[in-house]
Symmetry: C2
Subunit: 414 residues, 2 copies
């Protein structure tokens, strides 16, 4: 065990004993009182270690359970998540003028998004703590992942969503047996969740601070496993890791995994983390030096999974500590074109929110800030199947033709 | 190299040199002339071997390339397919009265179905043969997989589909850059494909015989890798393997993989193969002793990926040679309930066609034909995301509620 059974504020370093359930999804009370809400995250003791401990008999990402915030005897709630492949894109690397570009294809997870890593650890922690109901505010991927793992664990799951989420996402959350309700306004989900947590002892699987701090701290550390896997998979540690980002659970968790690898002496330095975000709250805060990411102006976006006017302190912390950057990609047309280009050139169909990574990378390349030999990883966060309608609107109707070669050639323009 | 560069008819054992492009998708001409079309499939020489040769440096399923029908120097077209996990379902095993039940979760492939195994090998073979255009008749999964791999390889891809396929499937095939057209009648796709193959030298990625023989023979052997993976993953070889089936490419390929393992001396006997099929053409032929699987009566089905009135000789051959069976699951309501039950109890959301495996298994259990200690594998062929609409129609609307705990409890019925 390397987990110290404490949580520490990422901003003021105050520590709290595990479990401090009232802090899950809320963050550090004293920083909140000071006007800069910040997440509290698990603390580990890695002293005397020089390797990532691996438990080969454990399912999915629990092979790394010695670096996860769990008791030693807690039984893993797993759907065989993680161990996702990397797919190399040599043509993209050449176009960007970098050494290598790979996609870490997180669509290969149980509910086809990287949120399964968060869900696996957060739901396992709920079982460890004897919780019977988990509650999550989500526009889709997060809720679906929690619902699936709650089903696997036999826990009740309540999802608070908004009416505007694509129907695919609603169905996906419901089919796993979760109780799904919509609130008129997105922020109402947070106040209601806080009430539910306080009143009924349900465990928050996402944040309920306003402005947000990020998700369930145990779940955030599920993303650390992406870093561990990448250093096993790649010939050398990455220089740049691009993460499509809203509240930066993934960005912060991956950066924490790389920080572990530095502390263990396995890599020299953490890669630069890059946030691709539709409207740029992290980008604005990096530019102004603020500790608060947003709010920035926003509007409905095809990248609905990450279309947030606000970011988090945990996101800014990961970006600043790694010399990283954030890039706003607000144009739906640009995003959808990047989505189609990747599918048609490389055979990878990623969700629109995930596709914002490519225009963000192109922006950094144009600024000359990537480095000629850079090894770049893009986190492919979720499948395009989660919102096919947005893609379909950019494609022609499938023509019905007579069954002749001539009719076919005419239809396909040859 | 174990591949002999010959193809042999599965029925009359006539051999043909590789490549015999006119036989791809058509099968053995003499059996066709005799009225029982049968696929021609690759022949290997395993003499003197006692292990599955593994090429660790190769991507995806090409780690097994010594047992695939490829030249030694052909470069793999891979999207890191295969190596899918198994997920154990102890509660289902207890309910069925068998030893163990696991799902081989093939939704973890690049286009989220097991057709990626076929596509990886068939498209690689197309590149080996210097083909510039591939053509496929498909209602979705098959076409999407071929389109993605053709994109990865830089080949042109033409998909012949029917107007009734779900819009998600059309979009998925199109987004990878394929030219997708619909024909008025399903069988018109086969005659047109045969014309295109003969006239332009395009390579058939699916069958164009009528009645069908099955798909591209190189692609069929991509499914062999499922058997190789299963014996690595499971504590002991499976006794029963259930495959949702139409033209039985998957069923036949998996059975061929187990036959390899028997020939190599790695397992004692092949598992019993079970076909789950909406309308039962294989079941009818097994009952009557026919060499022709169907046609049987059929109608539109929520299991559109496997809703065929006809099966194939390759399917019957795999079932008969393993002492297997086929079960018709014609009721959409039963299929959709099985889909929801698996999602809500185990956290796995499979396509409706895939969900027919569960009622089929229940039928066999009720007949007492599974065996008390049987190790059962169900191939989870594709994700429920491929046709979310069918699932959504069985679920309640997501209610919009006031942001209070009371309103929430009322909405979720607590």
């Amino acid at each position: 065990m390397t987990y110290t059974r404490t949580l520490a504020c990422l901003r003021c370093a105050a520590t709290y004993p595990d479990p401090s359930l009232e802090l899950v999804g809320r963050g550090c009370p004293s920083c909140e009182a000071g006007g800069v809400p910040a997440n509290v995250l698990p603390v580990y003791d890695l002293s005397g270690r020089n390797a990532v401990p691996v438990a080969d008999g454990e399912p999915g990402l629990f092979r790394y359970r010695a670096l996860l915030p769990l008791a030693a005897d807690t039984r893993a709630v797993s759907l065989a998540e993680g161990a996702t492949p990397v797919v190399a894109l040599p043509a993209v690397a050449a176009e960007l003028g970098v050494g290598t570009v790979v996609v870490k294809d997180e669509t290969r997870n149980p509910t086809w998004s990287y949120k399964d890593r968060l869900a696996a650890v957060a739901v396992t922690k709920a079982v460890e703590l004897g919780i019977n109901t988990v509650v999550v505010a989500s526009t889709g991927n997060h809720g679906a992942a929690i619902a699936a793992y709650a089903a696997r664990a036999g826990l009740r799951c309540v999802v608070l969503t908004v009416a505007s989420v694509p129907s695919t996402m609603k169905t996906l959350m419901q089919v796993y047996g979760a109780s799904v309700v919509a609130l008129p306004e997105p922020r109402q989900r947070w106040s209601l969740m806080r009430e539910l947590v306080r009143t009924f002892g349900w465990l928050a699987m996402s944040g309920h601070a306003d402005p947000p701090v990020g998700s369930n701290p145990y779940g955030v550390d599920g993303y650390k496993t992406i870093a561990y896997e990448l250093v096993e998979q790649l010939p050398s540690p990455p220089d740049v890791v691009v993460v499509p980002t809203a509240y930066a659970d993934g960005l912060a968790g991956i950066a924490r995994g790389f920080a572990d690898l530095v502390a263990l002496g396995l890599i020299e330095r953490a890669p630069r983390m890059v946030a691709a975000e539709p409207f740029g709250p992290h980008a604005a805060a990096l530019a102004s030096g603020s500790e608060l990411a947003g709010p920035v102006p926003y509007e409905p976006s095809v990248a609905f999974s990450t279309a947030s006017p606000v970011g988090t302190f945990q996101g800014l912390s990961a970006l600043r500590s790694t010399g990283g950057s954030a890039v706003a990609v607000p144009d739906d047309g640009v995003t959808l074109r990047a989505q189609r280009d990747l599918a048609a050139s490389a055979g990878l169909y990623q969700e629109a929110a995930s596709a914002t990574a490519w225009p963000a990378l192109a922006t950094l390349a144009a600024q000359g800030s990537l480095g000629r030999d850079a090894s770049v990883v893009v986190i492919g966060t979720s499948t395009g199947l989660k919102d096919v309608g947005a893609t379909a609107a950019t494609l022609p109707e499938v023509p019905v033709i007579e069954p002749t070669a001539d009719a076919l050639l005419a239809a396909i323009g040859t």
